[in-house]
Amino acid sequence: MSRSLRPDAALKLAGAAEYGVDLEAPGMLWGALVLAPAAHARLRSVDLASARALPGVVAVGPDDLGALLPGGGGDPDRPIFPRTEITYRAQPIAAVAAPTRELAERAARAVRVAADPLPIVADLEAVFPDWPGPDAEANPHVAAHVHARHGEVEAAFRDAEKVVRETYRTASIHQVALEPHACLAEVTGDRWVVRTSTQSPFGVREDTAQLLGVPEASVVVDGTWVGGGFGGKGASLLEPYALVLARAAGRPVRLALGYREEFLLGRTTLPAVVRLETAVARGRIVGRRVRLLLDVGTSLPGRDFATGYSIGFLVGPYRTPAFDLEGYAVRTNKPPFGPHRAPFAPQCAFIAESHLVHVALEVGIDPEEFRAQHMWTEGDTTPLGQPVGPFGLSAAFEAARSTARRWRAAAAPGQGVGIGAGFWSTNSGAGGEVRLVLAPEDLLVVQGEREIGSGSVLVGVAAVAERATGLPRERIRIEYADSSRAPFDSGVYGSRTTAALGRAVEEAAAVLLRTLGERMGAPGPVRLEVDGPSIAAVHGRDRRRVATLLSPDERRAGGLSVPGRHYGRSGAIDARRVLAGTFYPYTDFTGAAHVALVSVDRETGAVRVERYAAFQDVGRVVDEPSARAQVEGGVAMGLGTALTEEAIWSDEGTLENPGLLDYRIPTLGEIPPIEVAFIEGYAGAGPAGAKGLGEPPIIPVPATIAAAVRAASGAHLTELPLSAERVARALKLL
């Protein structure tokens, strides 16, 4: 019988995997949040009396936190309920819990919120119709300002033969993990326990402890199976509310979002405006100016990461001798910005690539040749002065060009072929730790992450353990433990999991094999082999069952336990290039180049993707089927960003399409055949040179589709998504 590609398949296909939404406990109450009725208002009062008059209902509002929380009310900078000012629509104002779901919903509706309207700022272009002036730093709408500069920028533009100026706009999008946020909380004495669907148990522990003002050690986060994360389940969202309700009720409380609320409260990518100017001389880029305004909703100053991280993607991965990059994170009356699979990078790649295609056509150079001539390779320097490491983008791009040539030769009239490129890092996070426990008959990998679906834990980490110990997969058990028992890990995000936990496994495995060698009186590591039901340690002709090598204490504890840890180093930034703000270095350089063949309907502007190919720089493939699945899934998700996905915010700060019928993600019939190829040999810092793969495959997709649409129809689009309406307008059909 062939092994399934997924070790979790049988459980999930039996309907037996317990997700956050499935949690239940005896005596449990159902929680519900009371959401702000306006996007900006002065809060006068929150009257919980009518809710509390309902049978069995517990209600908590801003005035109750002082008594419920040991520290007197939680983090003063981030109160879980606003005390004086509502800053976005659907901001939680109070929370209720009741014996049934219906009663909880009734109780939430019974809460009376009195608030006086304040001016709503929902559109970042209304905040800064022109570029922010010198007094912008003092503007309360500025959450962050970043500015970097290098080279002789003025001279480059003065001496240029051609300067191309463009403005791009990108839409707000949502992760649309199919499982809404959900958790179950219970407070016993000073133990605050929450079971939750999360990408980061330790991140939720830290965040929840801070928000509630309780010691981190008294918060226990226990992960469930996760029904999709994509960045949306990386930080705490519902957990503090569920815990406060459980504390007030003295009973377990289940709190889950309905799908409409999932859209309303979700933290994700918000709109952006980018202006680019590129100076060209003698067929080469000589200068670039970038101006970025990124809507960060109600993100607090100091908590914006996206602006400083993403702005580099508006120059690279192309050699640009002189540049001036400036960005503002702009606060509006929307939920805080949150990560969405490669946060804001697909949008940046769309902008940078579409602009380069346009520049090349303006100066009469083949757009693909133009990009190839400027593309970074190892030894080049990033805008922030970091040396580019092993980087397979050029190899991926050349493979994409060769595919594109074949597809072009076979394309029908009205069809077009385009190429898009992009790159990403493997985020090291704060770090990752595991514990290997070698038992007489199997090897446990004890760690703190639940599988979110990508396979990074159950397949990726297991594959690394298999390679590092020589044991077959069926003798390796990935054992999850909650945050009070597991070794620390930063979380399943940033394409880091297999890379970081894998390195920790490699480290522990090396110690384990050496330790067994010492016990056998042999210099150097042993080999592990399966020996009937047992595992044997082998050194030369010496062969002993593991059971015989364990001390009595180890036998009692279940095996020989060895910790492994990996705290990655990230590169340095050249501070001389930074004029303002915080920038982040890259760790690993992971390139991707994609090709699309599209048809454009010349009456409706509708784009149909007919064929797709992805060439992914990966360092080293850890598990081929999972790697392929990451690329297929990333491409499909990127097609949504490219073509249909747009969260529409009204001027009143109301999300106008909070549902799956109006916010359209790709369906099965809209996905073209996807060819996937891996570029190996440009090593990353992960196990055996692997690079992270969760995010890179989504990055080039909107750029690729835009290039293909331009090739098919001549339409040059400067806004995402490339909806039929936008394409039709660009083609002057509307």
Binding site: S4, D22, L178, G453, A629, M637, G659, L668
Partner: protein
Amino acid sequence: MSDAPVRLQVNGLARALDGVPATERLLDTLRWRLGLKGTKEGCRTGGCGACTVLVDGESTLSCLTLTHEVDGGSVTTIEAIARDPVGRIVRDAFEREGALQCGYCTPGFVMALTGLLKERGRSASVEELVDGLQGNLCRCTGYVSIVRAARAAREAEP
């Protein structure tokens, strides 16, 4: 209407359910009254297909179905899929092809494909199957492996 018990065959077991309100959805009856949580709640508006079950062999969105509407009917959920001959083929195809990641949409896809194959049999074209699964959303796989599983299930011998 809500006073009369609802009689259902659920995964082969006869159930008489008392006190089911007229507005209760089959999805909630299955998950919270009967503890069959393999059926997933997604959007609750018929837009994602995660809650798909079989009612009298036909694929049905349990979030848009009132429990009283199916009084006297027979309901099959993912928990019993392996006992259905067509369901078993579909389930095995998903396992073999690794046609899942987070697994949240998986029960809905398995039920929907089982319903389609029961209705159309092996004469169903791949296009018909693709068309019939358009109401089921998956955010992880890009559907590539799911289509592979659908092809394999269609070609499998019962």
